[in-house]
């Protein structure tokens, strides 16, 4: 990750500041510190400066990290109206193995406000104010942000605390700036208010994000659908895209070449294969490969009761060697199946779903796995199995005409798993995006402190700016950081 110099900060604890709008292009964030004395942002516990964060108490470092994230967004957006972020650092629900790191939401949504391009559509309040050129909800905050102060303590993800540094060198800790950039993205408008489970719109009105959601199978935008159609589209993974012009234009700058899996033979089923990728093994497409698909068989034993689940050493290893192993999902971890396939000499593994829901990405960690793996839906798996006797030949390689994580016309896909995941579905990019994007539902460790394809999306919904370049790369040619607007901190009395 690239280190960035911290811009000038305004940290005036205990004072009420009402900063004027910035003189140049940019957005002025006001961090409203709503914590009580001695806790959260006011935690006086000593802390050593880390990763460019010069704070000497835990509270100061939290505040500086918040300002860093606000400054990154503030430099890229353009609004004459300050964006007020009510922020707290409090204990949140947490266990030893799982806990909420933090979250955000727009404090209000607004429709039919001055200059709003779409009548009768909800806009997040900060954006509505930006479009109106004045605060449409004066006296109120725009975004609420709440983070977990217990992280890293006993019984709350112990051993994995917050990293308050500004350089992204978080190691095994949670990078606060990255999580903040993601959450502020939601607060600024990267979300739909539609109930993904029912397809019902919030208060029976569409929202501006929703207006650009397109189902490429029905060729309908969500605002043209009935609730039932929206609910069906919400689980139509791979076919739901964000149809905004700025996003479409910028997608090639942020998404790598699409890695495709193609059925080359038999001719009756030849064509591109929809698939999911694995978190283990080599990056798909790093090497082009082609081979015959063969059903792997193994003993029905304690490791897995089915003879096609790949959970034990393959009994037909001689047939698998040099070919692509086909196994069924279920009974054991994906990495166990991959290890057995690799031990049998397979050059790749295909896992067919054993249920009709959408095949998930293949999770797990196994550095020893060196062959690529993919997952396919149950229906595609059945089609492949039915043709095995005719000789199924698969090839895996990059397709330079398409982008990873995008559909036709390079429109980036939105996350649409089945069954739906409230809050995660639709209001995030699809996990197939490569390189990883800030607004995927599964935050990745390799994210730099940048806002990638999220910025064009915000521009599409109304955060336009003539003062920043089309790409989100904010580095100047000599590598120095661009100047940032100072952000303001305000203590809530």
């Amino acid at each position: 990750m690239r280190a960035r110099a911290l811009g000038p900060l305004v940290i005036l604890a205990g004072l009420l500041l009402l900063a004027p709008a910035p003189a140049r292009g940019g957005a002025q964030f006001v961090i409203v510190n709503a914590d009580a004395a001695g806790e959260g942002f006011n935690d006086p516990s000593p802390a050593n400066p880390v990763g460019g964060n010069t704070g000497t108490t835990v509270g100061q470092q939290r505040l500086i990290a918040f300002e860093e994230a606000a400054a990154i967004w503030g430099e890229l957006l353009d609004t004459p109206v300050e964006i007020r972020v009510r922020a707290t650092f409090d204990p949140l629900p947490c266990t030893a193995d799982q806990g909420a790191l933090g979250g955000a939401f727009p404090d209000a949504v607004v429709s039919d406000s001055p200059n709003a391009p779409l009548a009768g559509a909800w806009y997040p309040v900060a954006l509505a104010s930006r479009l109106a050129g004045e605060d449409v909800d004066p006296g109120s905050d725009d975004i609420t942000v709440r983070f977990n102060s217990d992280v890293g303590q006993t019984d709350c993800l112990e051993g994995s605390g917050w990293y308050y540094g500004l350089d992204g060198a978080h190691g095994d800790s949670f990078d606060l700036v990255t999580v903040l950039l993601h959450e502020l993205g939601h607060g600024l408008g990267f979300l739909t208010l539609v109930d993904e489970s029912t397809g019902e719109e919030f208060m029976s009105q569409p929202d501006v994000f929703e207006s650009m959601i397109l189902d490429t199978q029905t060729n309908k935008h969500w605002t043209e659908m009935t609730p039932a159609e929206r609910a069906a589209s919400a689980v139509n993974g791979g076919h739901v895209v964000f149809d905004g012009p700025a996003v479409g234009a910028a997608a090639p700058d942020f998404l790598g070449p699409f890695v495709g899996v193609r059925v080359d033979a038999p001719g009756a089923i030849a064509g591109d294969l929809e698939f999911t990728t694995a978190s283990f093994g080599p990056v798909l497409g790093s090497d082009t490969l082609s081979g015959e698909l063969v059903q792997a068989t193994d003993a029905a034993d304690a490791s897995g009761p089915a003879t096609t689940d790949g959970c034990s050493a393959f009994s037909n290893a001689s047939q698998i060697a040099g070919r692509i192993a086909l196994v069924d999902r279920g009974d054991c971890d994906f990495v166990v199946k991959a290890a057995n396939a690799q031990a049998a000499g397979a050059i790749a593994m295909v896992v067919a779903n054993n249920v009709s829901t959408q095949m998930p990405g293949l999770g797990g960690t196994a550095p020893e796995i060196t062959i690529p793996s993919i997952g396919v839906n149950q229906a595609e798996g059945a089609t492949l199995k039915a043709s095995l006797d005719d000789g199924v030949i698969l090839s895996i390689g990059t397709n330079p005409r398409r982008r990873a994580g995008a559909g036709a016309l390079n429109r980036p896909r939105l996350y649409a798993p089945s069954p739906t995941e409230p809050g995660s579905s639709i209001s995030h990019w699809d996990t197939g995006a490569t390189p990883n994007l800030l607004m995927e539902p599964d935050l990745n460790d390799d994210l730099p402190h940048e806002v990638d394809l999220t910025l064009p999306l915000l521009r599409d919904i109304g955060w336009r700016s003539d003062t920043v370049p089309e790409t989100a790369d904010r580095e100047t040619p000599d590598g120095a950081d661009a100047e940032r607007s100072p952000q303001t901190v305000e203590d809530r009395p």
Binding site: D97, V110, P117, D137, D195, T198, E200, M203, G363, G423
Partner: protein, 137 residues
């Protein structure tokens, strides 16, 4: 100039109207209103027509009480879990609804059995747990 979205429907408040009926007089056969207009203060969005309030108990026209006027001016909508959201309509037609933590998009960290940590962003509308273990097998 504002653009209307295809398939757009306007919000029609349901709550707060149970005890009242609204009638429109004075203009013959006006088109049905897209939305129940705000009445407190009188809204420019309804430039024509006179609204009267019919007491459901007596069936007679009477002035609305302050509480009835407040309810009509601030319709309440409930989501499927019963959470209530109040619509405020400003004199210039701006419509504002305060959101709550049901719309909180939260990043949840999970320690996996192999020691790695995964992150997932979801809303408080989501089930409390589940899903993460399934993707390992």
């Amino acid at each position: 100039m504002a653009t209307r979205i295809p398939g757009l429907r306007r919000f029609v408040p349901a709550a707060g109207l149970a005890a009242l009926a609204t009638a429109v007089f004075a203009h013959p056969a006006p088109p049905p209103p897209e939305a129940c207009p705000a009445i407190d203060p009188p809204s420019a969005a309804v430039p024509a027509g006179i609204r009267a309030f019919i007491d459901p108990a007596t069936g007679k026209i009477r002035p609305a009480t302050l509480e009835e006027r407040r309810k009509l001016a601030a319709p309440v909508w409930r989501d499927r879990s019963g959470r209530a959201y109040e619509l405020q309509i400003r004199a210039d037609g701006t419509r504002i609804v305060k959101l709550d933590e049901a719309f909180m998009m939260s990043v949840v960290a999970t320690k996996n059995s192999d020691g790695t940590i995964s992150y997932h962003c979801r809303s408080d509308r989501a089930p409390a747990a589940g899903g993460a273990a399934e993707i390992a097998k």
